[in-house]
Symmetry: C2
Subunit: 316 residues, 2 copies
C-alpha cells in the first residue's frame, strides 16, 4: 500500500459512513456524534510484538482483535458500542492483501456490533500499531455498570471462559502453529476473543450492580471490581474450566485453577449482583456464579488465600 | 519509568479527574462523557521520526504538540475541546525527568483549554508514539463549522501564520539547534503550534460559513475547504508573510509565496464567509482576507494557476 489516498479508498470500501449516532462522518477536521445521551469512551493500543506477533496472528486476526478489545471495555460497562476512531501506524512492507484482510475482518466485527468508523489518522511506522478509541451508549435504563458499588454478601459471577486465552497465548508462544491442533479452543480465545456486548446489556437490564471486562486476569481484576476494603470468597472448580486449560496445565505441570485465576486477556465479564436480584441476573446465558463479596480484604480461592498477581502487559 | 503503576501515578499528579463534561473519569473500563450536546471527535498520531525527532524536540515540546494538533482540529470546527483520551507507546529508555516534562507540558495545554484526560492505554514500544482522541462541543449556537458549504463570491480568510511552520521544519532538519537562533519564530511555529480555539469559536459566533485547520498546507487544504466544482482566486503578498519565511526562502533561493502556499503543519485556520457577513467576521482578531471563491475549479494565486501539491506526511 503506497499512498494515504489508497488507504483511505480501501477504508471507504470496507467501512460505511452512515450511522444513527453519526451526524458527520469521516473527511472533515472532526466527526460529529449525536448528543442526547451520555457516551462511554475507551481507548486501547494493539501493537506488534507487544500485543501480537505476525508469526501466528493473521492480518484478519489483528484487524479483529484490535477492535474487539475496545468493544470488550464497552461490554464491561453494560453498554452498546456505536462508533470508533482508529489511528493506524502502518509499516511500508505490508502488502495490499494484508490490508484488505485486516480491514475486512475489522469491518465485519464493526458491522456485527453496529459500530461506525468515525475517523482516524494514518502514519508510517516501523511496526504495525492500531490505536482505537471506541464510544458506546447505555441501553434503555441509561445506566452504565461501573466497577465498585458492591457490598459484602453480593454474589460474584463471570460470563465467558477463564484462563483459556492465557493457555492459548502460552501455547502459541511455545509451539507456534502446532498449538492450533493441540489447543484449538485456547488458540481461538487468544486470537479472536468474543466481546460480550449482548450479555453485558442483559446483565445491565437484569439489575446487576457492578461489571467489568477481565483483561488482566481474575487475580488482578477482581480486586479492581471490589474496590478497597472488601474481599472475595471464590470457588473455581477445575471441572468448570475448559478442557484446553486442563490439558495445558497438565502439560506444563501446574495447577489449572491457579493458571485460570491468573489468566490474562480473557475478555470475559466479571460482575456482582445483590442476592435478591439473582433470580433475574442468573438467567443471563453463560453466567457462572464464582463466589461472594466479603468484608475482609483479599481473595480466598477454594478456601486458600490467593496472593499472586495476574499478568502485566507493561511491566516486562 | 519502570512500571505501569508509576506511569498512572505520574499521570494522576498532572491531570485532574474532574470536569463538567466528565461523569466518570479514569480507572474504569470506560470514562463517561455527559450527554445533551453533540460531540465532535478527532484523532491524531504523533510518532517519533514520523512527526518529531528527539534531536530537536524536547520532552515538553512533544507532550505539547501531540495534544495541540488534536485541539487544532476541534478549533477547525469552530468548537471548544472538552476531553481527550491518550494511548501512549513508551520506550523503556526514557527517564523519569522526560516523562515528568512531557506530562507537565501536555497538562498545561490541557488546562489552558479546559480539557480533561478521560482515559487511555499504555504500552511498551521501540519508538515513542502518542495517539490522542479529542472531543469537543459547539458553542452557544450548537453549530459546528464544517468544510464545504461555500458558494462563488464567498470571501476566503485565514487566521495564523502561513508557511512559517514549514520554514521551521526545514531549517530544523537542515541546521538542527542552530535554527533556533536564525529562525526563532519559524522554529517555535513548528515545535509549539498554537491551536486557535478562541478564534474558531468567534468565527462561528460571527457567522462564518465554513472552517478548517490548515495542517497539510494551503495548496492541499484549500481545495478540501472548497469541495468539488469550485475554485479560488487568492492573493498572498510576500509582505504579509512572516520575516522568517522571507529569510528562509531567500536562503534556499525559492519563491516565499510558493513556500508559504505549500506550507504544512501551519495549524492556522482557513475559512469562508458570505460577503454580507464580513462586517462581523472580519472583526475577529488576526483575520486576513486571502481571496474569493470562484466557480472555476483550481487555485489561482496572485493571478497565476497554482498546481503543486502540499506536503504529505505519509507518502514518503
Amino acid at each position: 500500500m503506497k499512498s494515504e489516498e489508497q488507504f483511505l479508498q480501501l477504508i471507504d470500501t470496507h467501512f460505511p459512513h452512515e450511522h444513527p449516532f453519526l451526524k458527520l462522518g469521516r473527511g472533515d477536521d472532526c466527526a460529529i456524534l449525536a448528543g442526547d445521551r451520555d457516551y462511554c469512551v475507551t481507548s486501547d493500543i494493539f501493537l506488534e510484538d507487544a500485543h501480537f506477533r505476525h508469526e501466528y496472528f493473521t492480518a484478519a486476526d489483528i484487524g479483529y482483535k484490535a477492535l474487539a478489545v475496545n468493544i470488550s471495555d464497552i461490554a464491561g460497562m453494560g453498554a452498546k458500542p456505536v462508533a470508533f476512531t482508529m489511528d493506524l501506524m502502518a509499516p511500508a512492507d505490508l502488502d495490499d492483501e494484508f490490508w484488505d484482510d485486516f480491514f475486512k475482518s475489522m469491518a465485519i466485527l464493526a458491522r456485527q456490533n453496529d459500530m461506525v468508523l468515525a475517523g482516524g489518522d494514518l502514519s508510517r511506522a516501523d511496526k504495525l500499531g492500531v490505536s482505537i478509541t471506541a464510544m458506546g451508549v447505555a441501553g434503555g435504563s441509561g445506566t452504565f455498570l461501573t466497577r465498585g458499588n458492591v457490598s459484602p454478601g453480593d454474589v460474584l459471577f463471570t460470563v465467558g471462559e477463564i484462563g483459556l486465552a492465557r493457555a492459548g497465548f502460552m501455547t502459541l508462544e511455545a509451539l507456534k502453529d502446532k498449538a492450533r491442533e493441540a489447543f484449538p479452543a485456547a488458540v481461538a480465545a487468544h486470537l479472536r476473543p468474543k466481546p460480550k456486548v449482548m450479555v453485558g446489556t442483559l446483565l445491565n437490564a437484569a439489575g446487576a450492580k457492578s461489571l467489568m471486562d477481565v483483561s488482566d486476569g481474575l487475580a488482578r481484576d477482581l480486586p479492581r471490581l471490589l474496590g478497597p476494603g472488601l474481599g472475595a470468597d471464590v470457588t473455581l472448580a477445575a471441572e468448570s474450566l475448559n478442557g484446553n486449560v486442563l490439558a495445558f496445565a497438565l502439560g506444563v505441570g501446574t495447577d489449572p485453577v491457579e493458571e485460570a485465576f491468573l489468566g490474562g486477556e480473557d475478555y470475559a465479564l466479571l460482575g456482582a449482583a445483590a442476592e435478591d436480584t439473582m433470580d433475574k441476573v442468573s438467567t443471563v446465558p453463560g453466567l457462572t456464579i464464582i463466589g461472594t463479596v466479603t468484608d475482609t480484604p483479599g481473595l480466598v480461592v477454594n478456601g486458600k488465600p490467593f496472593t499472586a498477581s495476574g499478568f502485566d502487559h507493561f511491566d516486562q
